[in-house]
Structure formats: C-alpha cells, structure tokens
Symmetry: C2
Subunit: 199 residues, 2 copies
DNA sequence: TGTACATCAGTGAACGCGCGTTCACTGATGTAC
DNA sequence: TGTACATCAGTGAACGCGCGTTCACTGATGTAC
C-alpha cells in the first residue's frame, strides 16, 4: 500500500527476481526462500509488499503479457502500408518467436492465468491490447464489417495461431520443426484472411 | 510386471480411482493417500503396481486421449458420405464437447503430457489416431495431394481448433460464450478447407 | 486330506523433505522539542 | 545540533502442513510330500 521509494524498490526487485525464476524453471520454481535469497532480503519481507506468492506470480504474468504484446507491436512497426495479411503473418511469427524464446514465461501465462480473482476484469481485458494488434490490419481487410465482427475475427485468428504454436512447441512432436511450424502459421493466416476479405 | 488377475484388478482399480480424482480436481488432486483410501488398499500397494504417481498420471492421460478420440470417432460414425467439410466440423465440435465436459481431464492432458520419458515414442504417436480422423475427410477433399501434405494439413486444422477451444474454455473470457465458440470453429474449418480444396 | 514350509502380495507407520506463511522481535528512520 | 521517544520496515526462527516414498513386517496363498 505504502509508496515509499524503498518499498517500491523492494517490490520491483522481488518482481524482477520472480520473473527470472519463472523464466528459468516455470511456476514451480517460484519459491519464497529462493526469492528472498536472490533479492537479498529476509523471507518475511516478501509478505510486506505482496500478499502472497500468488500475487507475485500474477504480477509476473501481467508483465509477461505486456512484454509479449510490446514485442509483437515492434515487429510490425513501420509496416502499416504493407498488405494486411503480411502484417498479420508477421505478428503471428512474432508470437511464435516470443513463445519459443521465453517458453517458461509463456507457459506460465496459461498455467495460472492473469487475473487475481474471478470478479476481476480478468484475462480478456489484459489480452485486449494484443487482440487490438490483429484488429487493425483486419479492419483494412474487411472495411465493410462492423467492429464487432472484426473483433471476433481477430480473436479467432489469434486463437488459431495460438493453437498451432501450442501444439508445435508444447509437446515433443518430432515431426514438426520450427520451419514447418512457421509455414503452417503463414499458410493458415493467409487462408483465413483471404476468405474473410471475400465475405 | 506380474500379470496375475488380482494384481491386474488392483492396477485397474487404481487407474479408475486416479481418473476419477483427476476428473474432479485435476492433476493436483492426484494424491497417494486419497487413491489408497478410495481404492481400498494400503498406501504402499500403489507402488507394487505402479512405479510412482507419475506413471499413474500418464496412464490416466493415455486413457483420456483414447476415450476422447473414441468419442470423436463416434460423432462422425455413419457420416462417411457427407461433405468432408461437414465431417471435419462435426469432429471439431466433438472435440470442443469433450474438452468442455471433461475439462479437468482434458487440461491434465496438456499439463503433463503423455509419454513417460523423452526417449519414448511420445505424444505424437499417441495423438496419431486422432489426427487420422482428420486425414480421412481431408484426403477426399484434396485427392491430388500427397499423404504427407494431407497429414500436415490435418495437424494444422486440429491445432487451429485446439487453439480456439483452449482460449475459449481455459480462461474466463466473458465475451465468448459456447455458441459463439461453436460458430468460430465451424467458420474456421469451413474457411480453411475451402481454400485447401482449391489449391 | 492334512501338515509344514516357502513365497510374495499387500500393509501402514515412519521417514524425510520442502514448502508457504507467521509473528515476536530488532534496529533503522523519522519526529518533537 | 542533540536527545528522547515513536514508528514501522524488515528479520528469520519456528510453525504447521501435506506430501511421495520406503521397508520391516504380516498374513494370505501356493507347493511338496
């Protein structure tokens, strides 16, 4: 609650350390004693700035989602004039890259969610900026449609890409290599958007 | 190792009980003492028929996957003469239904995988029968293509559906209800297969 | 069928571990005069 | 500036819990004669 610089520094330090732990070993690596040791504070100090470890994990997830969205945004920066389909493909490849590079962070996103409790705005609001990245090119592709339709198609597109990335990365499928996965994603986007454009 | 009827009965009983536990509370509900109590055996008995709880969890997952594949197969039974796209849609709706009905079992499938160790045939082989369900209609839809291409497209299709189901069911997205989700899946399949057919 | 012995499936108390969280305390910081 | 006191951030030993797994034992089952 307090916003003194020192408490904020401790809070930030713990968040950094928690993120590093999750990045290395996933959610099971988030252990109070390790965090305290690595943050250079006492065990009890964690509970003076976070309610419990769950809060801390959710804070990490919120940052992961923001960072992922940011990297996806950067990947299409300056491409506003390109064909919408190409922008959507680039966005999706950026998603794949993030998930692949930050596999544990990405996995943790889906293993514990984002919202602290059920009555919170929740995942959807937190994911809104990511979905918005898909909406912009889609709006150009299907200008006659309502924003509601565009929003639904954006979610569909992202969900399909997410599925390809999930099954491609999560399990040890020895048949789909990274290159194949990239092509599957590009083709799926191209196919889906081509049809959208014609409707 | 032993295959006496009694040991097999214990093994089967434990598998049933483990499945019930996972169905109710997910992988975290798989606790040795609860299993022993519910199976009516001693704690140590578990370790006389399974190496450890991980083995038991994997056995449950294998059965879940078999059951899910079976239910999907049943959903398209007798539809062999229908339009391939309709069959693919029916299969995918059956996947959604299973995931929705057996949410914890389905979730556990992806939270711990299927293969006991990294050098095992693994997930892909275990999923092969499920993918095969998608290959049959696809083969009719694109008869000119190689079985390799068909196999790849089957995986792509299933992965896309899986993504829609995952993001639709996993998180508390208050905007996508079950009916919307069903429509998103049908439309995605229709769009993807329409394009495949023309290539 | 009956008896003595061998085997081994199944038992459950005990072990060892790691963890999240608490709370009586300490000592640094701030305030008042 | 110096002193006395109050506040409260931060400490870390201790608590309590639940768990997976083991292993010395028991008693049921099977075998031999």
């Amino acid at each position: 609650m307090a916003l003194t610089p020192k408490r904020d520094a401790l809070r930030a330090k713990l968040l950094d350390v928690a993120e590093a732990q999750i990045a290395e070993g996933g959610i099971v690596a988030l252990r109070a004693r390790d965090l305290a040791t690595q943050a250079g504070c006492a065990l009890g100090a964690i509970y003076t700035v976070y309610g419990d470890l769950g809060d801390l994990a959710l804070a990490v997830n919120r940052r992961t989602l923001t960072q992922m969205t940011q990297q996806m945004a950067v990947s299409v920066d300056g491409l506003e004039k390109e064909a919408p389909t190409d922008i959507l493909i680039t966005l999706s490849q950026a998603y794949l890259s993030y998930a692949d590079d930050q596999r544990q962070r990405w996995r943790t996103l889906f293993s514990i969610g984002i919202s602290p409790s059920d009555d919170e705005p929740g995942f959807f609001d937190a994911v809104a900026p990511l979905i918005a990245l898909y909406e912009q090119p889609l709006a150009r592709l299907m200008p006659a449609n309502t924003s509601r339709t565009i929003a639904r198609n954006a979610r569909t597109l992202f969900a399909a890409v997410h599925g390809l990335v999930s099954l491609g990365l999560e399990t040890r499928i020895n048949v789909v290599n990274r290159g194949d996965l990239e092509r599957m994603i590009s083709r799926t986007i191209a196919t889906l958007t081509d049809r959208e454009a014609h409707l």
